[in-house]
Subunit: 144 residues, 2 copies
Amino acid sequence: MKKDKILVGKIRTFNRFYTNIIGLLDQHILDSPYTLTDVRILYEIYHTKNCTAKKIREVISIDLGYLSRIIDRFVGKKFVRRSSSAVDRRFKILSLTQKGKTEFLKLNNHSDKLISNMIAGLYQKDRNELVKMMESIKTILSDK
Amino acid sequence: MKKDKILVGKIRTFNRFYTNIIGLLDQHILDSPYTLTDVRILYEIYHTKNCTAKKIREVISIDLGYLSRIIDRFVGKKFVRRSSSAVDRRFKILSLTQKGKTEFLKLNNHSDKLISNMIAGLYQKDRNELVKMMESIKTILSDK
DNA sequence: AATATATACTTGACTTAGTCAAGTATTAAC
DNA sequence: GTTAATACTTGACTAAGTCAAGTATATATT
């Protein structure tokens, strides 16, 4: 479709714009001792019941060896517990320790503050609309 | 503000979602001989009149030495021309050669195709709404 | 005009992030 | 009871990114 070209261009513009937004919000992570990948992994472990390396890789797409070592590091820091599954001992069940949860939530709180900041100067009306549109975009792009 | 907490959470959800979208769209770059950083630099050189390393750094936030070497590489490949500014010879004016433009546009075309694909299955109405909402979000978050 | 300071970029030495492939432990299939 | 498959680990490596000292040119100070 010809006229889609304009739409595509606009989407590209938005993508570039939003990449920067996300970049700004993630900045604080770069100033922390963690990489974005680290945080995404913590996120998955926090939110996934009976989390395993395999399950993480279904979501994140990361080299298996690399992942293994990142988990190692977190186990070393006592952020993550790793124990062989009773059902199938090849699987290592991953979970956050209390220390890991605290640290993860601290990072999250910081992110929240930055987002809060980002919408602080807006009228309540704009704030609500912004989020409504984000939800619509997500819905439109998910239904496929 | 208390009730903002819900909004912030929803924005975080959107950010995570859209990070994935962008990740999917950028996938093909990872399969090419260029990094995301490479492409962003080409983009800046393509779109910036009398582009210099300094100007690029105003947009991208990248180590100066690293940038210098990336430019080196592109100069070596004959994608980029680099010549001392006549006005101030400390500045090196950067521009894409024809070869560089061709290569850059090829990458862009690929991106466009992926975006096209992404919205291909949508009703025209949704496609238009999607882009309208993207533009609104950009406007809301830019006006500050 | 000579010297000091600032700016724009380059180079060398290094660290961190990420990849590839072989290896180990455990389970499933025949 | 072998063979094959799976879940993860380890070793050896490449690529990406950083830090700091160095070079070239321009501006400010005296």
